[in-house]
Structures are given as C-alpha cells and as structure tokens.
Symmetry: C2
C-alpha cells in the first residue's frame, strides 16, 4: 500500500491524523449492487463464498464502484461453524443449521477447525483480493463473535428472542465454556490465518451482542472476544487493527472497548459523542449513520451525514465513517456514492 489514500483507514483506526475521514460500509458488497447480483445470478451464496475468484471479484466491486477506503472480504460468519463440523445451509432467506446443537455430545463432537485445511478458500480469496487491490486500499478480514456463533449453532437459525441459546448457556456454564471456548480457539486460528494471508485489519461481528443484558454479556460475550484478540499474532511494529461491532450495544460499549479492540463500532442508536463517554479515550469509533438514511433525497442525506461527522469531531481523534448496520437491500447506489463523496470532503480536526 503505497499511496496515502490507502492508509487513511488504518491511520484512523490507530487514532492518527488523517487527510479526510475514511469510510467503508458494512455489507458494501451485496445485493444492492447490480454487479453483485450479476455474479449471484450464476452461483449460490455459499458457492460464492467458496469460489476464491468470485469472492475476490465481489469484494473489489465497492472499491471500484463507490471508492471506499477499505475492502472487506466477502464471506459469511457462519462458514467457521461448518468447518467445526456443522451442516450449514446458506440461502437468501437466512442461514440455517438443519441439525442445531442440542446436547453435550453435540458440543463434544465439534472440533477446532484447521483454517488452512478447512477454510482454505477464505485465505485464497484474501490472496486473490490483495492482488486485485494492488495496494489501493487495505483489506479487512473478519469473523463472527463467539456468542453470536454459539447462538446461531444452538438456535439453528436466526431468532427473535434466543431462548434456546440463552437457556442452554445460562443453565450450564460448563457447556457454555466448552462451546464458547472451542469457538474462540477456532477463531484465533482462523483470524491468524487471515493475517498470514495478508489481511490488514480484522472486524469481529458480534452481531447479536445486544440480545444479552450487560451482566450476561460480561460472562458469555466480551470475555470470549477478549480471548480471541489476545490470541492474535499481529505485526509487532504496526499491529493490524481489530474492530469489534454489534447492534443494540448501547449498554455494552465499555465492555467492547475493554476487549483489547482498537476500534469499537457503534450502531445509530448512540450518538458518537455519547459513545465516546462510554468507551473512553483509548479506542477509535466506527459508525454510525442510520442505514435507512440512504433512502432519503441526497440533500436530506447530506444534512444527516454532516451531523454524524459533527458528533464524531466532538468525540475526538479516531473516526472511521460507516453505517450503524449493514447496507439495506434496495439502497440506491447513487446514495452510497454520494455518501462516500461527502465523507471524503470532511477533514477532522487534529
């Protein structure tokens, strides 16, 4: 990565001065892009994840089309669970584990995945993406948070209230520790393989963090993220930044900041200056425009983007612009392009 543009994202993660606010969008490679839909017309979601050339192709699309400051590898947080021994069905209606975890024996049967052998297609996609990027912008690798993956594996599919997962983990701490521990150890190996393949930064998506109250998150959520981060073998001189993110995490921000993460992602419910008060001065903030904003007329969108930037400036150094959650299907590409232009026009105070 030779140009200053390509470092803007990493500099902001490290709370160093930047020429303008960097931006990328969660789910920036996705169904709102016609170019993505053209690829998906030929292959299923899971095939796309497992075909390095195609995964690299869609990873690059938003860099070329929108001009974002980072690429994020196209994949899914649940491929790890498949590698641990679970049958996985990934379709647009939402992912499913047809034989969810039900007993201690089910958990015992899971193995700590070997990333190069069982998830090699991810590392190969990283290498091909890096070639395609040619140093233009950094590449973010990622994984799901241990709690979120465990909840998926127990529920078998997305859930409104997670009663099965909560009942299983809350009522049997030995089982909870075994399951979350196995997942965390797999994630350490997986993320280290992503770093070895060349990822410049990592994001841990603990998407369902906010389903847990703060006392439960302190037991079943944050400690396992901390364990993953502690296990990373990062560049000693310029360690690759780690971002943690979840939605509905207003009450969990301090815990997320204490995991060892460099950056905490914030959904649109908590203003960034308020978030700063909760995470302290030691981490950068990522976020947090309401994703629905991209359905507004551009002039109205601009006012709301300016407001996020204003609150970010108030929160102090270290801001990566992003949405508060993933790009919504149906988002007009024109709005996403305008968003990138507008954020780039902003220089945060030193």
């Amino acid at each position: 990565m030779a140009t200053s543009m390509s470092h803007r994202f990493l500099d902001a993660c490290r709370r160093r001065p930047v020429d303008s606010t960097p931006i990328w969008l969660m789910r920036q490679a996705g169904r709102y892009l016609p170019e993505y839909r053209a690829v998906r017309a030929r292959v299923s979601f899971l095939e796309l994840c497992k075909t390095p050339d195609l995964a690299a192709e869609v990873t690059l699309q938003p860099v070329d089309i929108l001009g974002v400051d980072a690429a994020i590898l196209f994949s899914d947080i649940l491929v790890v669970c498949e590698a641990m021994g679970m049958k996985l069905i990934l379709e647009d209606e939402g992912p499913q584990f047809p034989t969810p975890l039900r007993t201690q024996a089910d958990v015992d049967r899971l193995h700590i995945a070997d990333p190069e052998r069982e998830l090699g297609y991810v590392m190969e996609a990283i290498r091909r993406t890096l070639k395609g990027l040619g140093g233009r912008v950094p590449l973010i690798g990622f994984c799901g948070g241990p709690w979120t993956l465990a909840a998926y594996m127990i529920e078998g599919k997305t859930s409104r209230s997670f009663e099965r997962a909560k009942a299983a983990l809350f009522s049997d701490e030995r089982l909870a520790h075994e399951l979350l521990g196995k997942i965390a150890d797999t994630l350490v190996a997986y993320l280290n393989a992503q770093l070895a393949a060349g990822a410049h930064a990592l994001q841990i998506f603990d998407s369902w963090a906010g389903a847990l109250g703060p006392e439960d998150y302190a037991k079943f959520g944050a400690p396992y993220i901390a364990r993953v981060i502690a296990g990373l073998e990062r560049d000693a001189r310029d360690p690759q930044p780690v971002i943690v993110f979840g939605v509905e995490t207003g009450e969990l921000l301090a815990q997320l900041a204490a995991t060892g993460a460099d950056v905490v992602g914030v959904d649109w419910r908590v203003p960034l200056d308020e978030a700063r008060g909760r995470v302290g001065p030691g981490v950068a903030l990522q976020g947090n425009l309401d994703p629905a904003t991209l359905f507004l007329p551009l002039a109205e969108q601009e006012i709301r983007v300016a407001r996020v930037l204003e609150l970010a400036d108030r929160a102090g150094p270290g801001h990566i612009f992003n949405l508060g959650h993933g790009v919504i299907v149906g988002t007009p590409v024109e709005n996403a392009k305008a968003l990138v232009r507008q954020v780039h026009a902003h220089t945060p105070p030193r």
Copy 2:
C-alpha cells in the same frame, strides 16, 4: 376494587408504598397458555379481538392462572389503524396492511376514528372484563405509539430496518406531521373511551421506538406520545396511571419519562438502577427480566429474578415487575407461575 391486593399495581405506578412488588407480564394472555390456545382453535386472532366475550375470557386467564396483579385487555395495537380506514390482516405470521400508505392522498384519506362507533368491541370487552374481574385486580387498557403505528401503516408489515417509513417521514415533515397527528388524535379519543369504559391504567406500546436514533425520536416519537397523554381525560382526584414502553430504548428513556407518563417500561438491556439515572426520580419503572429467563430451571430463574428485584430496590420507590418484552411463545406456564410467586415474596424498602 375493594381489596388491598387489587391496588398494589396502581400504588406502585404512583410510587406509593406497597406490601409486595406487583407483577404482570406483557403478552400474559397468549399462545403459551393452553387455555388461550383452546379459544384460538375456534376463532382467528382478529375475530378474537372483535368478540368481546372471548376477548374478556382470554384477558382473565392469566389473572386466574398466574395470579398477576393486573389484567391487560386482549387486543392488538393495529385495530386502531383499521378503524382509521386501512384494510388489516391479522394472522399468527404477523399482521399485514395489504395496501400500505404510499402517497399524500393515502394519508389524506385516513380519518380520525370514532372509538365508540368504530372500535366499540374494545370498549365492550373492557366492560365485560371488569365484570369478570369483580374488582380483583385493575385492568390496563392500551394502544400503540404513534410512530410505531405510522411505521406499520407505511411498511405494510413488520420490517427489519423501516427504510420506507423513515424515508417517508424524514423527507416530508408536513406529511409526517399530518399522519402522526391524525394517529395521535385518534389515540386520544380511543384511550379516553377506554377510560370511560372503566380501564384503571393505560399502557402505550411504542414497540419500535428503538428503531429511531435519539434525534429522530425527539422529532417523530416522543412529542406525539406527549400529545396523546396531554389529551387524556383522567380522574382528577386519582388519575389513572399511564405507562410508556418500547424496546431498545436505552438512549430514549429520558425522552419517554418526559412525555408525561407515570411509568416508563424498560427492556432487559438496561439495569433498573441505571435506568433510574436516565429517567430521573419522577416516574415509576416497569420491568425488566429477560423473557428468555422463563426457559431456565426454576432455581436459576430465581437467582435472576432476585437480581432484578435488587436493582429495582436500588432504583428507589415505584417498581412494577414485568418482563423486558412480551412472554415468548413456548414459555413453560410453570415458570410463569413461579415468577409471580417469587416476586410476591418480595417487599420493597419504603
């Protein structure tokens, strides 16, 4: 209402001393009860809402079966929208408006409903429920929050991200004001009719409050709840308490407390002592056990109930025990019964 038991709920709403902590459960009349399922085997959800004898019957079930301290009328927040002129389909898969609001003309066509003429079955259900209660416990009437109803009417069904509703309201404040104003005025008349029919308290379910960031909620959410509450014709000597509730409202609690509500409902994400700091001393708190707790073994459930009670005591006078959201389908009735017993064993400090 002659006995002291029947006043415990109202006393707590008014932050007066109580002999033991009162409890009721959101969605306490519902599919987890075999007695409810027996009624539903004979009629559709909407028929049940519109048949006063049956609505009264299922309203009374949890009072008889669980021994809760308040009944809440069995109905649905969306019947009001039907009365305003929208076609409504209410089935177990989730409610739908097959012709959602799309244009200014659609909004213009809505009328402010006349509750006695267009929602008379609700008032009749209240009168029959009161007869069945015979003063044992107070009866809570309810409605949806204006933002939540508007969002449903624009989206046409439940939504993950509400981009249509947000785009419509955020980009056209005149339309937003007309729609939210019409809904609020309908709700004033509707709740006043419920009070006239004998409801002892009211709850406003702004279920989707948490989908809005704090600045948007200050524009499109809280002011319309305040308008509804301001329009109520309550008993001058002992005004019927009003409870406001939404989920994911951590950042909105102060706004909810400022609407004029007597009680603010809190989901399980915010500990009650922390919630007290946000709402100030002037309101009672309702909540906030994670509904998934009722899937735990009773001993483990008991520990978690005790913790909510401990934090509530710390939050000071005025606590109505409830779940942080509705009873989950599949909840064991035995757990719900044990919950009521355990809460009743607790006397809050004076």
